[in-house]
């Protein structure tokens, strides 16, 4: 799956969690937390959605790898087939 498709899948998950936010101008290199009102509870939701939708497990020690869209794509890319 190409980067663009992976990016879209991640955005789709964030869109469902942050329903009241505008996601059209996200910067891939800036921390999601600094661009959106997402706290640790919401990151837990991202992790749980990944498991629910794609059976991708993210161990707690890897949570920092979900900080930016870029790092999400790098980290999760290989797990999407």
């Amino acid at each position: 799956m190409d980067e663009k498709a992976v990016r879209q899948k991640i955005i789709d998950i964030i869109a469902e969690i942050a329903i009241d936010e505008d996601l059209s101008n996200l910067d891939d290199n800036v921390k999601l937390r600094d661009q959106l009102d997402l706290d640790s509870m919401d990151f837990l939701d991202v992790v749980m959605e990944l498991k629910k939708r794609y059976k991708i497990e993210v161990p707690t020690e890897d949570y920092p790898k979900l900080a930016t869209l870029k790092s999400c794509i790098e980290y999760l890319g290989p797990s999407f087939h």
Binding site: I17, I19, D20, D37, L44, D45, K52
Partner: protein
């Protein structure tokens, strides 16, 4: 036999919110509610075509759409309910009314700051310090140690009259303790009432309950109304399931109970030490008039009234204490849902005394509560001349009957289980006795306990 990942006892705000979280992540979850109507401490009923709310005077923790870091924004995000669905309508303003002073506040904290400066000029800087302390404090940290809020606030506010006024709304809108509260709870309440403020969803508490119900069932959650839990069955120190009033048994490896800590422990099959039952209960009189208070320029949304300089927030020696009251004007939000004028009057009450009455005296005393409420309204607003169309009074007895809270203790036990643990494996508490307060607090409690105990570690059982 059905086997569930999690059973939730009680379909109040916290139980429903917890249920949504679990159903969202594919747990098999069922909410068991003894009453025929969901809502718990914040519910509703209908009499003679009139819609009545119980519990909710106003929703605290007002936030604008998307406003960051606010508890309301957080919980809507966690429940994935769009902000617009609540159709929130803000308060006009509210007032703390003591013999020699009154302090108004609204959803703009600036009004409160100015009012305190006007009434207590010497406390201006102290109040600014209190504001800083409150804003910087991590009130929802589950590991906060219990400490007296009055003691801590007294170190900053040196005028007792102001201190009493600040505490008045915070105590009566959430404290299980008499004349004091835990400092974390003080901060939660201070932010939710003075810094965020009051609003009302269109059509009141029904709107919230219906939104929660709709979401929960859409996600595949099961709700059984009219289904009381007789015992929580514990085997070798761990939860095994429940036995219903009907004798039916349901298996589950995990239970989240929102019915109160002492109430939960009292139905655990293997005997356990119970928590203390709280002392604070109330009467409420709901009055319907042929005129609206606003027509007579009464614009306040809620008045916290007290006859003395000191606010006596404790179980009275008498059936009820009419020296202080909360007077709520549901018409006085920006949008008014009602055809008629409504005034709600709350007095602190003694549930034990109400319990001792026979049927006839009980009914007589309910009438007297109504008369005292009417007299108070007439005294504070002599210009409001209107005919009473309908009224209803609820008492500590009513509260116990419909919520199951022992002694009509609206704010539950004085010993909160902040981390939700009960000492029994896989039995957790959410709601009032976990210690987050108000409607928003209750929902956040359900969410955080579901996240912590049912989603993060165990995941699917």
């Amino acid at each position: 036999m059905n086997i569930y990942d999690t059973l939730i006892i009680g379909a109040g705000m916290s139980g429903l919110a917890a249920g949504i979280r679990l159903a969202m992540f594919d747990q098999k979850v069922c909410i068991l509610e003894r009453h025929k109507v969901p809502g718990g401490l914040n519910s509703y009923y209908e009499r003679k075509g009139r819609k009545l709310d119980v519990g909710l005077h106003a929703m605290t923790n007002f936030a604008r759409r998307g406003e960051r870091g606010r508890p309301l924004t957080k919980l809507l995000k966690q429940l994935r309910i769009p902000y617009e669905k609540l159709e929130l309508s803000q308060q006009n303003f509210s007032k703390i009314l003591f013999p020699d002073n009154s302090i108004s506040f609204s959803n703009d904290p600036q009004l409160l700051i100015e009012e305190i400066e006007r009434n207590f000029p010497q406390q201006k800087d102290n109040f600014a310090r209190l504001l800083k302390l409150v804003t910087d404090f991590d009130d929802v940290n589950l590991n906060n140690k219990q400490q007296s809020a009055k003691k801590k606030v007294r170190e900053i506010i040196s005028d007792e009259r102001l201190l009493e006024m600040i505490f008045c709304p915070l105590l009566i809108y959430g404290s299980a303790w008499e004349n004091d509260m835990d400092f974390s709870q003080f901060v939660i309440m201070f932010k939710s009432i003075y810094l965020e403020g009051f609003s009302r969803p269109k059509n009141g508490v029904r709107t919230i309950i219906n939104l929660l119900l709709e979401k929960f069932t859409q996600l595949g959650g099961e709700l059984r109304l009219g289904t009381g839990v007789k015992t929580i069955d514990v085997e070798k120190g761990a939860v095994a399931g429940v036995t219903l009033d009907s004798g039916e048994k349901i298996q589950s490896s995990r239970i989240l109970s929102s019915i109160g800590l002492p109430e939960t422990m009292s139905i655990v099959s293997e005997g356990r030490e119970s928590a203390v039952v709280g002392n604070m209960s109330f009467t409420e009189t709901i009055l319907f008039f042929d005129k609206k208070p606003g027509d007579k320029e009464i614009k306040e949304t809620i008045i916290f009234y007290n006859e003395n300089d000191k606010y006596d927030y404790k179980r009275p020696q008498t059936l009820y204490d009419y020296r202080s009251a909360v007077i709520c004007f549901p018409n006085n939000f920006v949008c008014d849902d009602y055809e008629e004028g409504i005034i709600r009057v709350t007095f602190i009450a003694n549930s034990e005394k109400w319990n001792e009455l026979d049927k006839k005296t009980y009914l007589q005393n309910k009438q007297e509560v109504r008369d005292k409420a009417l007299a108070l309204v007439a005294r504070l607003f002599p210009e409001f001349q209107a005919n009473l169309l309908y009224h209803d009074v609820f008492t500590p007895i009513t509260i116990t009957r419909f919520t199951g809270h022992f002694d009509g203790a609206v704010y539950g036990t004085t010993q909160k289980a902040r981390d939700g643990r009960t000492g029994i494996k896989n039995l957790f508490i959410c709601g009032t006795d976990q210690g987050f307060l108000g409607i928003v607090g209750a929902m956040l409690s359900g969410i955080s306990m579901a996240n912590l105990h049912c989603l993060m570690k165990g995941e699917k059982a």
